[in-house]
C-alpha cells in the first residue's frame, strides 16, 4: 500500500495513458462517426489526466479547454453537418488495408526491438528517470506562472506568429466553407 502511494503518480499516468489509447482505439474502430468523436473526447480527457500526473497543471487545463471544449464541439458540428449515415454500410476501412497489415506488422517488430533496446537496456534507468521537480527560477513559482514566464520571455516571437497563423486560419476557414452560390 505504501509502495502504491509512492508510485501513485506513475500509476495514474499509466492508467490515464492506457485509457487514452483505449479511447483512440474506439476512435479508429467504431462505425459511427459520432462514436468516433466520443472516443476522441475520452482520449483527450485522459491525455489531460496524463498532463496533470506529469505535474503540468496549466497544460492539463488548457488541454481540457481547447480539445474537450472547442475542437470536439467543432468535430460534432461537422459530423452533424455532413450526412454520414448513408456510408455506414459500405465499410469503414480503405481498400488497400490488406496490403498495409503486413507492413504494419513489420514496422511493429522494428519499433518494438528499438524500444526494447533503448528503454529497457542496461544503462536506461539512470538516464531516463525524471527529475522530481522543476529546478531554477521556476521552482518557487506555480506551474502557470513558470509556463507564462517561459512563453513570454523565450518564446515571444513564436507566440506572436501563432496568433497571426490563427487569424489567417480563421479567415481561410470562413472563405473555404462559404458557399459559392450565395
Amino acid at each position: 500500500m505504501e509502495q502504491l502511494l509512492i508510485n501513485l503518480g506513475q500509476n495514474m499516468f499509466v492508467l490515464f495513458g492506457l485509457l487514452a489509447a483505449g479511447g483512440a482505439g474506439v476512435l479508429i474502430f467504431s462505425k459511427s462517426a459520432v462514436h468516433s468523436v466520443i472516443g476522441f473526447l475520452f482520449s483527450m480527457i485522459c491525455v489531460a489526466g496524463c498532463f496533470l500526473s506529469l505535474q503540468a497543471e496549466f497544460l492539463g487545463v488548457a488541454q481540457l479547454l481547447v480539445y474537450a471544449g472547442g475542437i470536439v464541439v467543432l468535430f460534432l458540428f461537422v459530423v452533424m453537418l455532413v450526412e454520414l449515415t448513408k456510408y455506414q454500410e459500405k465499410g469503414i476501412f480503405q481498400t488497400q488495408t490488406k496490403f498495409a497489415i503486413p507492413l504494419v506488422g513489420l514496422g511493429l517488430l522494428v519499433f518494438g526491438g528499438l524500444f526494447r533496446s533503448a528503454l529497457f537496456g542496461a544503462s536506461a534507468p539512470e538516464a531516463l528517470t525524471l527529475q522530481p521537480g522543476l529546478v531554477g527560477a521556476a521552482e518557487s513559482l506555480g506551474n502557470a506562472q513558470a509556463v507564462s514566464r517561459g512563453l513570454f520571455a523565450n518564446f515571444l516571437l513564436p507566440f506572436e506568429i501563432l496568433s497571426v497563423i490563427l487569424l489567417v486560419a480563421l479567415v481561410g476557414a470562413i472563405v473555404l466553407a462559404k458557399s459559392e452560390r450565395v
Partner: protein, 100 residues
C-alpha cells in the same frame, strides 16, 4: 514519480494508433482526429522532456503546438465541408479529382 519509459511507451502507443487511423480509415473526419492524436502524443513527449531537462520550455512549445492544432482543425474542417458541398461525400478513397 513518473518514469520516462512509461511516458515514451504511452506516447508511442497514442502516436501509432493515430498513424494507423490515418492510414486505414476512409472518413476524412476520422483522419483529422487521428492527426490530433499524433500531435497529442508529441505534446506528451514535450512535457516529459521538459521535466527531464528541468525547464519549462517544453511546456511552452506544447502550448504552441496546441494552438497550431486548433488552427489546423479549423482549416481541415472547412476543407471537409467544402468537399462535401462539391462531391457529396467525404470518403477519401473516392476523391480522385487529380487522377487525370
Amino acid at each position: 514519480m513518473v518514469s520516462m519509459n512509461a511516458v515514451l511507451l504511452i506516447s508511442f502507443l497514442l502516436w501509432s494508433v493515430g498513424v494507423a487511423g490515418v492510414l486505414i480509415r476512409r472518413n476524412a473526419l476520422v483522419i483529422l482526429m487521428c492527426v490530433e492524436l499524433m500531435l497529442n502524443a508529441a505534446n506528451l513527449n514535450f512535457i516529459a522532456f521538459a521535466r527531464q531537462s528541468g525547464t519549462v520550455h517544453g511546456q511552452a512549445i506544447a502550448l504552441l503546438v496546441m494552438g497550431f492544432a486548433a488552427a489546423e482543425v479549423a482549416v481541415g474542417l472547412a476543407l471537409v465541408v467544402a468537399l462535401y458541398r462539391r462531391k457529396g461525400n467525404i470518403q477519401v478513397d473516392e476523391i480522385n479529382l487529380l487522377k487525370g
